[in-house]
């Protein structure tokens, strides 16, 4: 007996008992639906986390931080100049494993344009700061080396800054406008694109409300820019950034350093030093190399350390994996219960059909023909149940999202669809094995005598 025929018989059998077959399938349907919904929710979660990580510079982002010197260096730590422009220059000139490096100074500032004021953080940096932080200039230009060399009074600003300073003018092209940063005039030469989660962008494009509490300005203009306005999120922080050349920042804001009533002279210490690793597979070598360079510029004093996202990334990936595994396990158990349901019904069905089995055996069916027939029937139930489950998962996801509006919308991934469906078919086949084995062992005479 070939498989095709078995398939036809299986379908016929299912069709003959539509309601019973549906009840049998229900376990598989719900199992597959919850499995796929589970996978999609975690996939959405993972995507949200990865987007977040990408927004804060990705795994290749490294920040050089101040650190307490080791005890044996405590008595001469003062010979180190700390983090200075020299560090950045040395890394730029000598490290082949670093793709971008930028020094950073932070200036808390009042930014004024016309009647509007914006309290924000102004960062003095090199042009490389833009690629390191994965900034994208939407209008105008970014910083240039010429700006740094000549200490130009230019600024590249985030979209939220423009929105705040020109609230009446949505999507205003503010390049060419002059803003006052702590009373010094700067000309806007570039505006970054508006950073937001893919999910928020999708919703905004559809004219829906953002998924999570919209930060300010709700209803000011449709479509509303949502979470990207919130300054505590990495998106909000990036949208509120103002970049100026580091030379201008030193020249305008750091040339005097009042300690008490005395001017201690210019302060060339950096507030930050960030770089991007060229090849993440050579992360340890890169850190080692930069560490050696900095030890030279810091005269041997190890008053610096590295803040990397590597561990953070690993932890996030691990979390996603854990959630997926435990969720998948629970959904898998429900699918297994569905499988047990199939086994149960098949066992009942072979008792009911024992005479049919006897007739088939009497006209020449071998034990294995009966075996194949029952397994194929169970597999068909798993197959159809799996297909219906995939459809049902869309509904389950809607319900889950409606009950607890997650920050990240579920993402349907092809591989998860395939895994869930394949699992249903496998469960179908496995749950058919025992009834099929039992059916194949029935002696033809006994079967014919029955009923």
């Amino acid at each position: 007996m070939n498989l095709w025929l078995g398939l036809l018989i299986g379908l016929k059998e299912i069709w003959a008992h539509k309601f019973r077959s549906f009840l049998t399938m229900l376990g598989v349907i719900l199992g597959v639906a919850s499995l796929l919904a589970m996978f999609s929710l975690t996939a959405g979660m993972a995507r949200g986390m990865r987007e977040y990580m990408q927004q804060i510079g990705g795994i290749e982002f490294v920040s050089v931080i101040k650190q307490d010197v080791p005890p044996e260096q405590e008595f001469f730590y003062e010979i180190s100049p700390g983090r200075t422009i020299d560090d950045a220059l040395a890394i730029q000139n000598t490290s082949g494993l670093v793709s971008y490096v930028s020094p950073v100074v932070d200036i808390g500032a009042n930014v004024v344009a016309g009647a509007e004021t914006f309290k924000g953080e102004v960062k003095g940096s090199w042009p490389d700061y833009i690629p390191i932080n994965k900034h994208v200039v939407e209008i105008g230009r970014g910083l240039s080396w010429l700006d740094v060399e000549r200490a130009q009074h230019v600024a590249v600003v985030g979209r939220s800054v423009v929105d705040k300073l020109w609230p009446e003018r949505p999507d205003y092209n503010a390049t060419g406008e002059t803003i006052l940063i702590n009373q010094r005039p700067f000309q806007i030469v570039g505006i970054f694109e508006f950073y937001e989660r893919t999910e928020d962008k999708r919703r905004r494009d559809l004219g829906l409300k953002p998924a999570m509490g919209a930060g300010g300005g709700g209803g000011r203009k449709p479509p509303t820019r949502g979470a990207g306005m919130n300054r505590s999120s990495p998106f909000g922080r990036k949208n509120s950034q103002i970049l100026i050349p580091i030379s201008t920042a030193f020249y305008e804001f750091r040339s005097a350093n009042m300690v008490g009533k005395e001017d201690a002279g210019p302060n060339y210490k950096l507030d930050g030093l960030v770089f991007q690793v060229a090849d993440t597979t050579r992360f340890p070598e890169t850190l080692n190399q930069v560490s050696n360079i900095l030890r030279t510029t810091h005269r041997g004093v190890e008053d610096f350390g590295f803040d990397t996202r590597e561990e953070w990334f690993d932890r996030i990936e691990e979390n996603v994996r854990n959630v997926r595994t435990s969720g998948g396990l629970i959904a898998g158990i429900s699918l297994l219960v569905g499988g047990i349901g199939i086994t149960n019904i098949m066992l009942a069905s072979i008792t009911e059909r024992i005479r049919e089995i006897g007739v088939r055996r009497a006209v020449g069916a071998k034990g294995r023909d009966i075996f194949v027939q029952i397994v194929v029937e169970a597999a068909v139930i798993g197959f159809i149940g799996g297909l219906l489950g995939l459809v049902a998962s869309l509904g389950v996801m809607r319900i889950l999202v409606a009950i607890s509006p997650a920050e990240n919308a579920p993402v349907l991934e092809a591989q998860n669809v395939i895994i869930s469906f394949a699992f249903a078919v496998v469960i179908g086949v496995f749950s058919g094995l025992y009834p099929a084995f039992k059916a194949s062992r029935i002696e033809p005479i006994e079967a014919l005598r029955y009923g």
Binding site: V363, G364, E443
Partner: protein, 234 residues
């Protein structure tokens, strides 16, 4: 060698503590082309003998050859092949599959012998024609009369062109007129040269066969002469 040869065949069942001897030292030969009737009262072991002959069961001791093949020690798969290829079986209760139509029921044995769908259909239609049911091909068994159902069963038994057709009380569930037409059909098949063995408890039916094999308490008490040729006319 005869087509069917039983040597010292016994069949014993265990029912709880008790052992029942259903067949006791059966010696039997049936030649190619014979039309034989196995007759005996109920409980005589004739059904057990029929099941052995039909390869639905195996003897406890003794040997049994069908068409030169020793089936007394054959595997379950081998027996299935015998039932499929060499033997056609007609039951008292017809044993048709109610979910299949006439064509599907007659095609059933060929499903297990790897015949292509097209040939299956052709051969099934030919067999149905032989039993005179061409106009009921697409009916299900429940839409047929008893006699028609038995004709379907006979078509199914013939469709793989077996050497022997066994019929276990083929007229037991039919009224006497319908029974007579079924018997006539068997006689016709016999005249065409097919070996036919039927089991009955009815002397009148047995009389229509060329040879009467009487069985009582698991033993053959009268085997008749092995006659080949036209059956006796009543």
């Amino acid at each position: 060698m005869a087509l069917i040869e039983l040597r010292d065949v016994t069949k014993r069942y265990r029912v709880g503590e008790q052992e029942i001897v259903a067949l006791d030292g059966i010696e039997l030969e049936i030649a190619q082309g014979e039309f034989a009737a196995i007759i005996g009262p109920s409980g005589s072991g004739k059904s057990t003998l029929m099941h052995l002959l039909g390869c639905l069961d195996t003897p406890t001791t003794g040997t049994m050859h069908i068409d030169g093949i020793d089936v007394s020690r054959a595997s379950s798969n081998r027996l299935a092949e015998m039932r499929n290829q060499k033997i056609g079986f007609v039951f008292q209760a017809f044993n048709l599959l109610p979910k299949f139509n006439v064509l599907g029921n007659v095609e059933l044995p060929m499903i297990y012998s790897g015949v292509t769908a097209r040939e299956r259909r052709e051969r099934a239609l030919y067999a149905i024609e032989r039993v005179g049911l061409t106009n009921r091909v697409h009916n299900t068994p429940l839409q047929l009369s008893g006699g028609q159902m038995q004709r379907v069963a006979i078509a199914r038994a013939l469709v793989n062109d077996p050497k022997i057709v066994f019929a276990d009380e083929p007229t037991g569930n039919l009224d006497s007129i319908t029974g007579a037409t079924i018997l006539a059909l068997f006689r016709e098949l016999s005249e065409q040269g097919r070996t036919i063995v039927l089991v009955t408890h009815d002397n009148e039916i047995a009389a229509q066969a060329a040879r009467k094999i009487e069985i009582r308490d698991g033993k053959i008490v009268g085997a008749g002469g092995a006659k080949v040729g036209s059956p006796a006319l009543v």
